[in-house]
Amino acid sequence: MKLDYVLLLLFHLCFVNTELISVITGKIKDSGTTIAISAGAFWGLKDRLKCYLYECCHEPDVNFNYHTLDADIANLLFGQHLVKDVVVNSIKSHWYNENPRKPLVLSFHGYTGSGKNYVAEIIANNTFRLGLRSTFVQHIVATNDFPDKNKLEEYQVELRNRILTTVQKCQRSIFIFDEADKLPEQLLGAIKPFLDYYSTISGVDFRRSIFILLSNKGGGEIARITKEQYESGYPREQLRLEAFERELMNFSYNEKGGLQMSELISNHLIDHFVPFLPLQREHVRSCVGAYLRKRGRGDLVSNVDFVERVLNSLQYFPESSKAFSSSGCKRVDAKTDLEMAKIRPLLSSVHFDDEL
């Protein structure tokens, strides 16, 4: 970076000097401008070349597309009407807000397989050209990145530096904290100042970045509310965010681990608590359909028998009504593959029939 400034200064000197000379002599008028233009051209070219080789913090590398985000969530995520509403709208309004007062902080809650990681991935894909591989997306897995309890002090400094340097490079950075409920309190405390209403922290402006916390906390509560709604016969699309938010807040506050008693909640730094509802049989069916189409076996989608077989190989709860899938859309891929492989022997038995 220093070298760049020196170069710029040199060009400036050249430019000023030649102009001075040309003013004095009144003869070589063009030379100054020529040098200026060539310097400018060189400058632009260098910048573009750099962005061609490395990722830069502007278009086309960073380009939030609201329409594709909306379409992706609608097409790839099943049965999460609240997620669609909150995530798309909040990111959109934060992105287009010229002067946000604080970074956007979302907290995703729900059982495994309900799509928390998937949504985070979709958001990254629609913001950065390189998706999750972008240097401006920091995917932090608590159990993986910070395994040793005795090194918390080191981790604290490390995490702080990691966040600071990322936002220094790009204000539009996204931070994803997976398994946030397993993040030690000390580390959450280290994140806290970044989420608050400050114009700058250690000289870095955080107000345009996005923080996403993923956790299983409150999954039981969400399932309970959804189940009650289901049993009383109302459609789940009628569930509203407010019904969950209070519960989730209390829950993440009181339950052991991670967000427990943490300053994040008591200071109201989390903008939206987003519940991921447990998936019903029909949603898992959509997942199976999507996977089949991805594998190029669209013909099997209409094969009711086949899809039922896959669905039956998964686990459901509660014991009585078996309304909800206990693993969401996880394991669906594997189970579908298995059933597909099983078909072949059946086909060969058809052959067998023919031979007869």
């Binding site: 934060h94 807040m249 939206h272």
Partner: protein, 310 residues
């Protein structure tokens, strides 16, 4: 000298404290904090115009999150320095950010002392802000203490014209209780007076865990004013929503009672029984309002399409 001040921020004529603008800003941007507005404006004004102040002005802001403590300091700074928070004479310390690690406390102590002296030497009118004072280690508070006292000079630097502001959540429960009691007795909020709070705040700051606990700062009466930030009722939160709407250029929605109600419903209120005060103050208001706005965009569009199809 003049040329230098044109390019750099100078500690002189160009940065003038504007009393009227400060009062106007409080009036327009801060809602429901009549105690704060009065005492802050008057104390800063009299300190500023006092040529022979005996000690720096020390304010301690107390209150729940979202009641506007940070915002008020920002407004004060903006009305004191041309470049606002970016001014080199404004020193902003966030306890959890600037002094995170207990292991390096000795380093922090030296650093803090150096910075205080350096800033005050360059400008007598420096402002020092300590956020999350309740999380400041007491050893660091001991470092600050001599600068707040009645000394003509500390380490050869005159501190008597500087301003110290301490922000903390300490005592927010007590403030809420007093305000709630007052409300339940059927009295109006503007009848609350500073004296109702100051004693309680002092005690709670002194006795509660963390920060100012048992420090000489309080027992030596070095803090000039304890300023309570009252919890915000629905009425004031809706004013916050309106300001945000106007900022986003949606004047039309500010008059839409139904829309306002939707935003208010998405926030949390306490106590459980009467739901008078917002538990997050005006925090989260911006995010929730934005969410409702863009949701509306959706429903409007889809409604239109629906009608068209019919």
């Amino acid at each position: 000298m003049f040329l230098k001040c044109l390019f750099y921020t100078c500690c002189g004529e160009t940065d003038i404290f504007n009393y009227h603008a400060l009062y106007k800003d409080f009036d327009n941007k801060i809602f429901g904090q009549h105690l704060m507005a009065e005492s802050v404006v008057h104390s800063i004004k009299s300190h500023w115009h006092n040529e022979h102040s005996q000690k720096p002005l020390v304010l301690s802001f107390h209150g729940g999150t979202g009641t506007g403590k940070n915002y008020v300091t920002e407004i004060i700074v903006n009305n004191t320095y041309r470049s606002g928070m970016h001014s080199p004479f404004v020193n902003y310390f966030v306890a959890t950010n600037n002094f995170p690690n207990k292991k390096y406390i000795e380093d922090y102590k030296l650093e803090l002392k150096d910075q205080l002296i350096r800033s005050a030497r360059r400008c007598q009118r420096s402002i020092f802000i300590f956020d999350e004072t309740d999380k400041l280690q007491s050893e660091l508070i001991q470092v600050i203490k001599p600068f707040l006292d009645y000394y003509p000079a500390v380490f050869g630097v005159d501190f008597r014209k500087t301003i110290f502001i301490f922000l903390s959540n300490k005592g927010s429960k007590e403030i809420a209780n007093i305000a709630l009691e007052h409300h339940e007795n059927g009295k109006i909020r503007s009848q609350l007076e500073l004296k109702h709070f100051e004693r309680t705040l002092m005690l709670s700051a002194f006795n509660e865990e963390g920060g100012l606990r048992n420090t000489d700062m309080i027992s030596n009466q070095l803090i000039d004013h304890f300023i309570p930030f009252l919890p915000l009722s629905k009425f004031y939160v809706s004013q916050c929503i309106q300001v945000h709407l106007r900022k986003r250029g949606r004047h039309d929605l500010a008059k839409d009672g139904e829309f306002m109600q939707r935003v208010l419903d998405s926030l949390e209120f306490f106590p459980e029984s009467s739901k008078i005060f917002s538990s997050s103050g005006c925090k989260r208001v911006n995010a929730k309002t934005d969410l409702e706005i863009s949701k509306m965009g959706f429903s409007l569009n889809s409604k239109k399409e629906f009608n068209d199809e019919l």
